[in-house]
Symmetry: C2
């Protein structure tokens, strides 16, 4: 159904790049077609509307990023707590690049569509909440094996990590500098160290 270099896939990849750069509303169908190197006819053959493309792009985003994190090296660690810190260090490490490359499509789109395009909102929510749910599993296990000092639920804490990341992207965009995003992840990591009562020296830090 989804060959590698079909017009549909090229349009989805173009959508990731363009929408992350200028948002959903400012992205025109014509520009998408030009970036993908296909015609308008191809666009409306595969997607019944611009909104439909946005939903498909959010789902495509969920699939590709899901596979990306599933294949990350930290997933091989046995201890769930190690995987959590591995995840945080990994997220900090991949903050290298330009803003359109490192930001989240779902977070960008949902900002301007949550009230006007329910279908897009739901697809973006599935992407963000689904990603958090995977992390919540490890958090739950880590609480079971390592204990915890504060009363926090795995789901709430996992969603908080996504909030920090989304906010870090906004700060990075506003200041035109991804560095601040890395600092935010550092704070987030320190919060996890506090919660799981680890000294900062006990685990290796990103750089």
């Amino acid at each position: 159904m989804a060959k590698e270099h079909s017009a549909r896939t090229k349009l989805l990849q173009a959508a990731l790049r363009v929408i992350r750069t200028k948002g959903y509303a400012a992205t025109s169908v014509d520009e998408l077609c030009e970036t993908a190197g296909v015609t308008k006819g191809a666009f409306f053959h595969h997607f019944k509307s611009k909104e439909d493309l946005a939903v498909a792009a959010a789902n495509y985003w969920s699939e590709t990023t899901g596979a990306f994190f599933d294949a990350a090296p930290y997933q091989q660690l046995q201890d769930p707590l190690d995987r959590i810190f591995g995840y945080l260090d990994f997220r900090r490490m991949i903050l290298n690049g330009s803003m359109p490359e490192i930001t989240c499509l779902a977070g960008t789109m949902v900002q301007e569509t949550y009230d006007t395009h329910p279908a897009i909102r739901e697809a973006c929510n599935a992407s963000i909440s689904g990603h958090a749910a995977k992390l919540a599993i490890d958090i739950d296990k880590a609480i079971g094996t390592h204990g915890i000092s504060a009363e926090v639920t795995p789901d709430s804490l996992a969603l908080f990590t996504q909030a920090v990341l989304q906010g870090a992207f906004i700060l990075g965009k506003a200041r035109n500098n991804p560095e601040i995003a890395a600092e935010c992840v550092d704070h987030l990591r320190r919060y996890f160290e506090f919660i799981f009562q680890q000294s900062p020296e006990e685990t290796r830090h990103g750089d």
Copy 2:
């Protein structure tokens, strides 16, 4: 220069409401005029372009929110650390309302304009970074009077609070529920408690 019910002010207030609901690009000049109850002639008399309106709206946002937080009751507290927790509890308290009412104009606009409209990006950055700078002053004082366990800078920590808030808004929009935003502020408060070594019972909690 800025009478209370002038066409200019009505347009700025309309911009806050509409742009926070559907974003900058999806907001048309016509809709802004209709919402404000003025004509297009008035719009282009006061603003030389749509982008100019956006910059003015971001500055208007900085002014009004700045005055709002300056007048908040927690500012009367003597201890800078009390003011910090007062700020966090206040931010949590004002998370009542619909998403367009409680979200940040600057954070919403900068997402879709950072790469294409430098003037808007800079105005949004001034709003967010300026707000953080005020908080950083109290953080700096609190570190001086109370000490601190981890090595964090006031600026970095203040910006982190803004990242959490911005991310909390995105989560709230994605899940169509402001409640998750409040939970994020709870986590943020706990992080501050860890950093300043306060037990959670020592200070009064929001509700």
